[in-house]
Amino acid sequence: MIGIPRQKNAIRHTPEDRIINTMIIILTTFVFIVTVYPFYYVLIMSFNNGNDAMRGGIYLWPRVFTMENYGQFLNDSKWISAIFVSFARTVLGTGLGVLFTCMVAYAMSFEDLKLRKFYYGIMIICMYFSGGLIPYYLTLRQIGLLNNFLVYIIPMMFSIYYMILAISFFQAIPRTLYESAYLDGANDAYIYVKIVLPLSLPLLATLALFMAVNQWNSWMDTAFYCTGQKNLRTLAYLLRDLIVSNETGVQRGWQAISDVAAGKMKAVTSKSIQMAAMMISILPIICVYPFLQKYFVSGIMLGAVKG
């Protein structure tokens, strides 16, 4: 956590201090509420009967509690398949991405490596310049990554920005550790896996968090590169579809989804399912966030100092 300059000596509060303190408390409380309440609102709406929610007026607590939104959601094979695809790309993409990016960073962390400046120059150019969407799309098409699950994994494997972050982390590892390993006959692959990676857990956690969040949240690659394959649709993509259709078909959103089997009053609307879907896609992020929080702040700093 970031240290903040302490002002313990400020014992006597002047009127100015009091006014400022009050203003700050009011403003930060406002920020706090504006940030947290939307999530809370979606949470309570996801547990509320969809037809009842249509009447509005729910602000703090579900009025007609139901689990059916989640029930309906988890019964739909379309969503289950999307969750599976999202999960698979997150795990594979993050794992390979971290290992590959750090592998290059490990080699680049040797200042005395010949050609290092040359390698670095190419990488920096590639960081600042890109061909843009159209040539990139045609390249993916040429190498057969369109409508292919691997389009979620392979193009995400290497990030120059994260590599730079990793280099500065690796350079803090004492060289003597490598030297004794070399003397024992170890090669660089061994050193990377057995020495460097275990010593870099905070870095790995930071990169894994960034890459995983990016993978989990990504929907544009599905929309651009996987238009022909329904079974490659991700959770974020389907959610976007649902949100857009609920919004453009304004009335439709609140209409009950026909529940043919039971003649009873339907509890679920397309809108209330959207609430459940939103909660489910936020959930993994909220779950890992508290654990990784302490790492990413220091990770960002590292990048900021060197960067």
């Binding site: 903040i4 590959f100 080699a107 040539p135 929907w219 857009v244 896609s281």
Partner: protein, 316 residues
């Protein structure tokens, strides 16, 4: 670096000798370069399709040997009736974001450091990063849930108080505000992190002696805090200007744009997507994309020049 591979190496060139001696390290890097070759260099060389007539049926080679037409597609884009609107939207949204969100992140960081009470401070700080990790899809869902003119929570709330909410999500007039505010909501806390770090690096005795000399809180903020983080502000400003045209604008526009606010929500990147991937006018779309990249490049270079000239800080 000493390596335990005492081969008889002879009198090869020092670079070759290094490659032979530490071939595995070089191999690791070559893997990275191979990646960049495929996913960066090839698309960059493919940019020449903006100057050639590329047809999908000619296959990938068509990018490099299609008929050369010079600036035809650029002229077409520049004289398109949509061009001025696209340019205006692209620039306005970016500039407005920089104008509002950049100073607000600094303000928020200063507010956090000046905040009394450590516990609440930590809570606010932690919560303020969270939206950064939430996808734009979710953010658009939240915006619709709250602002939709048929069923939005805020619309309902205001209606029950007798106030009519404007159709923020539908009317083009509100799109710029919507884009700026939603990005502020998502990124303000995250953008404040770097300033917080810079502020925490300020020598606390500066504040103490200023206090003894009778400087109030406001005086201390303007005379100590802000001047001390000037370098950080400058660097982030250059990065901000450089990233003006990119960032979340594309994703935002795809998610929040619709047929009713298209006059304000359509930006060059969306146009490139629609013309290229949807309508199949690849060369034309690539030319429009290249046009935007050129503006970005120009912006980075001028921001850097400006900063070196007037703030004594530069990136390159």
């Amino acid at each position: 670096m000493t390596s335990a591979q005492p081969h008889a190496i002879g009198k090869a060139h020092p670079i070759l000798r290094d490659i032979r001696k530490r071939w595995m390290l070089h191999l690791f890097i070559w893997c990275g370069l191979a990646f960049l070759f495929v996913f960066n260099i090839i698309p960059i060389t493919g940019l020449q399709m903006a100057f050639r007539t590329f047809k999908l049926k000619d296959g990938f080679a068509g990018i490099f040997n299609g008929q050369f037409v010079g600036f035809q597609y650029f002229n077409e884009f520049l004289s398109d009736r949509k061009f001025t609107v696209l340019l205006r939207n692209t620039m306005s949204i970016s500039v407005l974001k920089l104008l509002f969100n950049f100073p607000l992140a600094i303000t928020f960081a200063i507010m956090l450091t000046e905040m009394p009470g450590r516990k609440f401070k930590r809570v606010v700080q932690t919560v303020s990063y969270l939206p950064h990790f939430i996808s734009w899809v979710i953010v658009s869902g939240l915006l619709f849930t709250f602002l939709s003119s048929s069923s939005g929570m805020l619309t309902d709330l205001f209606k029950s108080m007798g106030i009519e909410m404007p159709a923020i999500l539908v009317k083009g007039d509100y799109y710029y505000g919507l884009a700026v505010f939603s990005e502020l909501w998502k990124e303000m806390g995250w953008n404040a992190i770097i300033y917080l770090a810079a502020i925490s690096g300020i020598d606390p005795t500066l504040y103490e002696s200023a206090q003894i000399d009778g400087a109030g809180r406001i005086r201390r903020i303007f005379n100590i805090t802000l001047p001390s983080i000037r370098g950080t502000i400058a660097v982030l400003l250059i990065l901000g200007v450089g990233g003006l045209m990119g960032g979340a604008n594309f994703e935002q526009s795809l998610l929040l744009g619709n047929s009713t606010n298209i006059a304000r929500s359509e930006i060059i990147e969306v146009y490139v997507y629609n013309q290229g991937l949807v309508a199949g006018r690849y060369s034309y779309a690539a030319a429009a994309g290249l046009f935007q990249s050129m503006i970005s490049l120009f912006l980075v270079i001028s921001a850097n020049w400006f900063s070196r000239r007037f703030l004594d800080t530069s990136l390159f």
